[in-house]
Amino acid sequence: MKKITLNVNGQQHVVAVDPETPLLFVLSDELGLRGPRFGCGMAQCGACTVIMRGQVVRSCVMPVSAVGQDEVTTLEGLGTPEKPHPIQQAFIEEGAAQCGFCLSGVILTAKAVLDTKPDASDQEIRDALGGILCRCFTHTRMLRAIRKYAEAIRA
């Protein structure tokens, strides 16, 4: 066990865990966050996605000790039910979910790519989503929501 300080969604937390613990387990079990979820534990599906330094990270394979001082943003860090982030709002408007288990990967990856490159083409957005799996196959609605958000930030 080791005391580790984490910056998550604008708040500082101190946790006492084995430093090898995957960041995901700390977010879920120590901080009680529901956004990032365990899908595969092998960085193959994206359900555990968080954003660090503007990049998407698979929290299921990142040891908590490797996070350092970097701010971690999870799905709930974007917006709240009362005030959703515009990309969350686009997903709400398009009804772009079925079970919704995969949403951290979908929403955060799309946000990260459009933050870096607001004029990213559909193809570039899709390429960025290569590691993301949705088994309900809500693909069409999700891409429509992402496009809607992209158009809004470009306007």
Binding site: D18, G32, R34, Q98, F101, R126, L129, I132, T140
Partner: protein, 768 residues
């Protein structure tokens, strides 16, 4: 004139209105001790089992049909709001908790809508409640029921007097039985049901607030992992507990027969212990070769069932102008939920609670009781949504496992599978072989069709008493449901087509009359169910998708032989008006050009395009769909790219058009993934498709076609299921479109580039 109470009671049939002092709140209180006897302590005949009006005017409804992403939570809330004439936000729906909800068996098989949205169960309860409230209001206001109107939970007389629901019965029991004569509100008057109400879980999902079963946390909770055998049939020789002594936080290694699990203070420690635990196993039996599996399947002893047999097949085939044969194969496929299954159990000496994503809370309660050796009425199972399931993923097994671990350590345990635990041991969708023989007349019509299929089967949903149907039960020494070898009896009773074994074009004549959808009277459908080396179970459109793939591609082969248009040829052999309805609607919406397949002039381009159609009467009478697929095929790489799908769907009145579109789009695209890439693989010892590298699924970077959905809603028909209809026709429509584009017939799923190239080569060889 005031209707007397007696007259009101008379006019409402058996309705007995009385008041009791009991507060409705206790209905949901665990301490009430409502646990009774199997199958359900909650009497579905009583209105109070389904519905309660709070003092605050909130309508609480209890359902045994749960939402795992298909939208039934929202649709059921709409139903209750509609029948009670209140806004949807005044409805609170409690789903699938064995302490408060009626036992509605399994949420599956596209049965939630037919069961809860027509004239029984939840729909009848809501209609009964509205009529009971009107009756109470009539008494209170001294008016006749006919003089009352209801809106927004307020009942108003034509004299302008009014009373609110909660003033009539707030927090009190109705104490009435469901009234078989209670009238549903006409779909013409609907203001909430039938409308595209945004799904109620949306905002919570998109903002990361939604509680999945993975998020259930109980004070004092520990974390578990299971240690599964390396292969099917392996048995424990020795568990070396010393091997995990160094793992910090380890609480216990739990061994029961061949079941092994570890419990630790944290998830990480549990995962570490599971990985480090040294177990010596006896090997299981060698597996049949994957490459020749379908030949193997056909040679095994089997349980045989004739769905239909006109007993003139051989004679008719001998007399036919032309006989066409073909063999279709369908691989094992996975539910492959994106989230590894998870459950939380709190087992105490006197009671047990399991938070579970099972689709079967009551059966799960019975199995948990059996495995823990506890009375069934001391076990409570509370449904909490998991990752999308599509049938029988690991949700049941993980619930049993968590309960066993919790009992062993005497503390609450949260158990989450590893990806491999999930994918190696779930109940796969069955592998099948279908062999068709059909005889055609000189005029190109079908005169005889014989169909024989072999289905691999082992286990199923555990139901109330067969734990061995999933991996946990087998490890604990319980037997799975097995196909007992026996020869087929003559088909008797009423014609049934539950698994869509029988093509829509058969007349379906059995002792009880002709119930098929078509005109072919020389017909036989024989099913051989064979023991599977792996667990199998219901995967979205179980056997219906396998059978429809084979049936709807083969009719296309017959059609091509007759040089007929695929829509016209189907219509020629159909008589089911609803299948005809969707077929015509899909063809219209797709601007279908009538001509035979394949295309007359093949382009020399590298990429060719084609269109294909397929249709089904799901389960014979539980929803109707016709799908047109437009695909591109790259002749050099063998890659198939669906570009556009147009589906016509008839499921009676639609509860939520937006929800149904979402389900339909998802069904088609999931069907496309299953048609193009999905297949369980194995070597001679074990399943080898155990993660997302080895089991393919179309990720979000895949090029996705457009999907256009047309609803066909004939008047005055009951609501049918709709969640599985679209996926059922997808592989066949794609296969037929590939044939149209290339003249190569793909008979083995999935349509991998290698298979497409091989079929192209074979086709060129045949035509050279």
């Amino acid at each position: 004139m005031t209707q007397s109470r007696r007259e009101f009671l008379k006019s409402c049939g058996a309705l007995i209105v009385s008041f009791s002092a009991g507060s409705l709140r206790v209905l949901s209180a665990q301490s009430q001790g409502q646990f009774g006897t199997h199958p359900s302590h909650i009497d579905p005949e009583k209105l109070d089992s389904w519905l309660a009006v709070g003092a605050d005017g909130i309508i609480t409804a209890y359902t045994g049909k749960c939402d795992f992403g298909q939208g039934i939570f929202t649709a059921q809330s709409q139903l209750v709001a509609e029948e009670l004439c209140v806004p949807i936000d005044r409805v609170k729906l409690i789903q699938c908790d064995t302490s408060v909800c009626p036992d509605q068996g399994t949420t599956s098989g596209s049965q939630s809508t037919p069961t809860n949205f027509n004239s029984e169960s939840l729909a009848l309860a809501a209609a009964t409640a509205r009529e009971a409230l009107l009756g109470l209001a009539a008494v209170k206001l001294g008016e006749r029921v006919e003089q009352l109107t209801v809106a927004d939970g307020i009942i108003t007389s034509n004299m302008g007097r009014y009373v609110r629901y909660e003033e009539l019965i707030g927090n009190k029991h109705f104490n009435v039985l469901l009234s078989a004569t209670a009238k549903r509100r006409s779909s013409r008057d609907w203001t909430v049901l039938g409308k595209p109400i945004p799904s109620l879980d949306r905002t919570a999902l998109m903002t990361g607030q939604f509680e999945f079963v993975h998020h259930v946390r109980i004070p004092g909770m520990l974390h578990g992992r299971v240690v599964r055998p390396p292969e099917m049939g392996a048995t424990v020789v020795h568990v070396d507990e010393q091997s995990v002594r160094s793992v910090p936080g380890l609480v216990k290694v739990v061994v029961r027969k061949n079941f092994i699990g570890v419990v630790a203070e944290t998830q990480y420690q549990a995962a570490l212990a599971a990985r480090k635990l040294a177990v010596q196993w006896n090997p299981g039996p060698e597996l049949p070769s994957h490459n020749s599996f379908f030949d193997h399947l056909r040679k095994q002893p089997s349980h045989d069932v004739l769905s239909v047999d006109s007993r003139d097949i051989e004679a008719q085939l001998a007399a036919a102008s032309h006989v066409i044969r073909a063999i279709y194969t369908y691989p094992y496929q996975m539910h492959g939920s994106v989230g590894a299954s998870c459950a939380v159990a709190e087992v105490k000496p006197e009671s047990a609670t399991v938070w579970s994503a099972t689709q079967t809370v009551y059966p799960t309660r019975s199995i948990v009781a059996k495995l823990l050796n506890m009375p069934v009425d001391t076990v409570r199972v509370i449904y909490v949504r998991g990752s999308g399931c599509y049938g029988l993923n690991g949700a049941d097994a993980v619930s049993f496992d968590a309960a066993i671990l919790s009992q062993a350590v005497g503390r609450p345990v949260r158990l989450q599978f590893s990806r491999q635990d999930e994918m190696m041991w779930e109940n796969f969708g069955s592998a099948c072989v279908v062999e068709h023989r059909a005889g055609m007349a000189r005029d190109g019509s079908i005169v005889v069709w014989d169909r024989e299929d072999w289905v691999a089967s082992l286990g199923n949903r555990p139901g109330y008493d067969i734990p061995g149907n999933v991996i946990t039960g087998m490890l604990l020494g319980y037997e799975a449901e097995l196909p007992e070898p026996r020869s087929a009896k003559a088909p008797g009773g009423k014609f049934r087509n539950q698994s869509n074994t029988v093509p829509s074009y058969f007349a379906g004549c059995v002792a009880g009359g002709c119930g098929g959808g078509g005109t072919i009277r020389s017909e036989r459908a024989l099913t051989h169910t064979v023991r599977s080396p792996f667990f199998t179970g219901p995967l979205r459109s179980p056997l219906r998708i396998q059978n429809t793939f084979a049936n709807e591609c083969f009719i296309d082969e017959l059609c091509a032989h007759a040089k007929a248009d695929p829509v016209a040829f189907r219509l020629q052999h159909l008589q089911n008006s609803r299948v005809i309805g969707v077929l015509k609607a899909a063809a219209d919406a797709a601007s279908w050009q009538a001509r035979p397949s394949p295309m007359a002039n093949f382009s020399r381009a590298q990429t060719v395009s084609g269109r294909g159609i397929a249709c089904v009467a799901y389960e014979g009478d539980n929803g109707y769909a016709a799908l047109v697929a437009e695909v591109d095929v790259d002749l050099q790489t063998g890659t198939v790219r669906p570009k556009r799908f147009i589906i016509a769907l008839d499921c009676g009145p639609v509860s939520n058009p937006d929800g149904l579109r979402n389900q339909t789009e998802g069904g088609i695209l999931q069907g496309m993934s299953r048609a193009l890439v999905e297949e369980v693989t194995w070597d001679n010892r074990r399943v080898t498709s155990v993660d997302w590298e080895t089991y393919k699924s179309l990720h979000l970077d895949s090029e996705m076609p457009t999907v256009e959905t047309v609803f066909v809603t004939p008047a005055d028909r009951p609501a049918t299921g709709a969640g599985e209809t679209a996926i059922t026709v997808t592989p066949a429509a794609i296969g037929n479109a590939i044939f149209d584009a290339t003249s190569a017939r793909l008979r083995d799923l999935p349509f991998t580039p290698e298979r497409v190239k091989a079929a192209l080569l074979a086709d060129r060889g045949a035509r050279a």
